[in-house]
Point group: C2
Chain length 343, copies 2
């Protein structure tokens, strides 16, 4: 690689012996030029290490190759994993991923969307905060930018929604728990921000009724995104109260369950499904850390690979078609029961 710094495409074109418009064409699609031409440019490229100025490139284009990814809370490894998956797929599709986290704050969410709008992305994959989201701001954004919602469904927003089938997954777990022991109580936050929580509660109730059991819902306080703490504190209270009518607890999500496990441990309660266990605890999501809790957590896995792939595919289709779909499509993927030691 040469030391010489190239200032612009004009210079690079001169050095490679090709005209600038052809070089420009090459950078948009290397296969759009004759093979011999491509090789000459590529040879020059290796020698001089030139790259088009992305600001100049994007200035006139109505749409860029940028691809926004917004998650509600990146410090949650679940979202970090999904984001990683999506990033890979986006890069493979030839786009540049731009990852943003709302850190649980609606104000950040709006800021992120504003920043994205300024970047003129080809499309955005958005997992909204949910109940806390500024609905008007999100709706306005979705009107301006092709948007696929994932994980968290806000009815009517976004062109497409891709997510987890909470009904199916919840039934799967309730069935399993009821079949192998006492029917579960449902443990959740009183005012969950994530709309999945409501779906899961309703699915729990429906399944319990279908099985002829009385639903028991335990709701704990807590507003922020530190679910482990909320599960822990709520767990301590519930276990002290002895208010549970059953020895089996199905937590609305894994992070609550992790906190609940910590509370049970502190109370000296043995968690598991064998003899000598006082409590069964199950979660939902197959959070990366549930393999290393004590005991390991029985849960329902979200098929986050399928969700990631479908989300990106839908977005690419949206971009290619260059028109917004008339009807809002929804795709849900089945969860998978992961039986471990805790229930």
């Amino acid at each position: 690689m040469s030391h010489a710094k190239i200032r612009n495409m004009e210079e690079f074109a001169a050095l490679s012996g090709i005209s600038r418009p052809t070089v420009s064409k090459f950078f948009h699609d290397p296969d759009s030029v004759r093979k011999s031409t491509r090789e000459r440019i590529e040879a020059a490229l290796e020698q001089y290490n030139y790259r088009p100025n992305i600001y100049a490139v994007n200035q006139n284009r109505r749409m860029t190759k940028n691809f926004g990814i917004v998650v509600p809370y990146l410090a949650d490894p679940f979202f970090a994993e999904i984001a990683r998956n999506i990033e890979e797929l986006v890069i493979a599709a030839g786009y540049r991923p731009i990852l943003m986290s709302s850190h649980g704050e609606p104000a950040n969410e709006v800021e992120n969307l504003d920043a994205l709008r300024a970047i003129k992305p080809a499309g955005v994959l958005l997992a909204p905060l949910g109940r806390a989201s500024d609905r008007d701001a999100v709706a306005a954004f979705c009107r301006d930018v092709p948007t696929v919602h994932f994980d968290s469904n806000i009815e009517g927003m976004g062109d497409v929604f891709v997510g987890h089938d909470n009904d199916h997954a919840t039934a799967l777990m309730v069935d399993y728990l009821a079949r192998t022991g006492e029917p579960p109580a449902f443990f959740e936050m009183r005012t969950p921000t994530n709309p999945n929580a409501g779906k899961r509660r309703r699915a729990y109730i429906a399944t319990m009724e279908r099985l002829g059991h009385e639903p028991q819902i335990v709701q704990v306080e807590g507003q922020d995104w530190e679910f482990e703490r909320i599960g822990y504190e709520g767990g301590l209270r519930v276990l002290s109260d002895r208010s549970l009518a059953t020895d089996t607890v199905f937590c609305s999500n894994d992070r609550l369950a992790i906190g609940f496990l910590a509370a049970a441990f502190e109370k000296g309660l043995r968690v598991g499904r064998g003899e000598g266990s006082a409590l069964r605890v199950a979660g939902h999501d197959n959070h990366p850390f549930t393999r290393y809790t004590c005991p390991t957590l029985t849960t329902v896995a979200q098929n986050y690979r399928a969700i990631s792939r479908k989300s990106v595919e839908e977005m690419l289709a949206l971009i290619e078609s260059d028109e917004r779909p008339a009807t809002r499509e929804t795709t849900l993927f089945d969860g998978e029961l992961i039986v471990r030691a805790s229930a």
Copy 2:
């Protein structure tokens, strides 16, 4: 806010009754124009919702207001938390943060740096992968772009390093463990990618020798970033072997310790510092989840708020001075002993 879409600054200037050059000046520094002028522009701004095209703005500037943040592995909540902190500080300083994760892969790290270079950031905060990093690529990047390294110190690279004082923190924990029970063995990966690991090992040995104890180092295999699994599998082996000469284990980091705790739990060993406990386990970093392990994990906290703040401050100073420092500065922050239930 009006419905009318503004195409460019020319139009917006006309609508606000101010000339374009003055409007341009306003967007660079609202206080650089007369108060009455500023108010007229701001009034128009509320009415028409115009924002300068960032691509056109950045096209000629040698440096933008972009601020790169690269972490080695975002699915680790420790880095997610640091990134969150840094993002906030960066925004407060008037820059636009661009967060990237290398996902543990050197190839991704190089890609991220390439992408950042194309964006012409004012500066970059880089936590490199460490041993696995492509040293030449990182060095070349640091030559072109003002870079502050944090967390992971690669000797001689970057203009500034800000990190955790591993010597001090390790001594703190070894002192504590030796004072309150048997002196600890040191549990780590054989070939850790992160340079902090080596520092911690050496500090452990030095402190043990200072205290007149024989160091015992237990190394386990494992290459990737799934430290919990590595700690778990290594822990199972160590506990089966009964190769430990002590009942106290100091893990090189919290994620290994989380895995080790899971192994101890599976082996039926009671972990803690009280009577009836078979094992003490300690970690390092104060990972967000260590408050919810079973038992809660005794660890040494990194002062990540101070590290974040200092990193950003150093970067801003670097940007303002507009020159690269002659000597490479290093700032280390003291850790804090966090005594919980596990040791």
